[in-house]
Structure formats: C-alpha cells, structure tokens
Symmetry: C2
Subunit: 124 residues, 2 copies
C-alpha cells in the first residue's frame, strides 16, 4: 500500500499555523510545520538570539513560553500573502516572570518551502 | 504665527503610504514619509544590496523603477499592524528590461518612529 501525501500550499500552511496558535498549540504547530532547517530571526535589540534548525528554534519557543507567568489574552490576525511568504500580527497580553504585566505586539513573517516553514522573522 | 504639526501614528503613515503607492506615487511617498536614517533590507539572494539613509534608499527605488519596461498591473494589500511595524503584500506584473514579463510578489515590513518610516524589509 502506498500513501501519497500532498504538499501543503503556502495558504494551507498559514491557515494550519494560525488555527493551531489560536487554540494555544504553538509548540505543537512548530513541531508539525517547521522544516528541520528552519531559521528564526529576532530584532537586533532582542535578548533572544538568532536560531537555526528545528531543535534550536523549538527550544527558543519553549524558553519564551517558560517566561510567561500568566497569559491574559492572545490575538493572531489573519495572514497576508506574498509569494512563498506570509505575514501575521501577534498580540500577547501577559504577566512575564519578574517583569510584570505587558502587551507584546509584533509582525511575524514566515517563509514556506515544500509545504514546510523554513524561516520566521519577528519585528517589534 | 506658529504652525503645529501633529506626528502621524503608525496607522496614518501606513495608510498614506498605501494611498500614494496605489496612485503610482511610490517615489513621492518615499520622499514624504521616509526618515533621513531609513534602512532598506532585501533577501540575502537579491541582487539589490542593503541600503542606509534616505538618499541611498531613494536611489535604490529609482534604480528598480528604471528596470521596468512596462507595468501591466500592481496591487498593494491593506496593512496589518503590530506595535511600531506594519506589513503589506505587493504584487507587480511587469515586463522588465531584457528579462521579459514576470509577476513579482512580496511581503513588505515597515518600521515607524516619530511619524516617519525608519526601515523597510522585503521578503520574496
């Protein structure tokens, strides 16, 4: 028996990512959709460094999640599309450990290749 | 007589940029809205280099415009917003000098400070 798996389009990848993120399944979405070679780029001023490869990027995600003491609300916009890239807005209202309550807003840009996310970059 | 000029919000800057781009006034929009210190970042694979400061970024824009033999259609999406950044999709159907007709699609992310655009980055 042969199983044929169709490669997801950029729109399908984006919709799946946002669907899972809106359910709070961010780490599961990364596990499912990220390429082994994914890169993650933060702003120059960010304490989080550049990360390359799925293991490192997932560790970075877990590291950020572990800094959240209490999540008050989170918002993910619908995506906009340009070629092999899509962009969303993310807004997080959370109490961060040792830092108090804050609202974090950012633009996220994801690159897609062969049905997998190969890059993410954040602007804030 | 004193003239008080209100600093534009990120939304006002974005809406003005898109309004002018949709009228074909891209270079005029850059002239009006870009900071003297603006930076322009292309993908690593792009022939266009990184540019810094308004004069260099406007030259880059003029250089790209001069490569267009015939513009068939252009589309700018509505923006999405995250903090001091906004993102749009741009789609250009054009015949480029010596390269034939092609459709260029990209995600553009702009950073805003004090009512001016201080950074642009393109993903394609």
């Amino acid at each position: 028996m042969t199983t044929t798996q169709k490669t997801m389009t950029v729109k399908e990848v984006a919709n799946r990512l946002i669907e899972m993120c809106r359910k709070g399944q961010i780490l599961e979405a990364q596990q499912e959709l990220f390429s082994e070679d994914v890169t993650s780029t933060e702003p120059a001023h960010a304490p989080m460094p550049f990360a390359k490869d799925k293991t490192a990027v997932l560790e970075k995600g877990k590291g950020f999640a572990s800094m959240i003491e209490q999540q008050h609300s989170v918002y993910f916009s619908d995506p906009i599309f340009g070629g092999n890239y899509f962009s969303i807005t993310c807004k997080l209202d959370a109490t961060m450990k040792g830092q108090g309550r804050m609202v974090l807003e950012e633009i996220c840009v994801f690159g897609v290749k062969d049905g997998e996310i190969i890059s993410e970059q954040f602007f804030y």
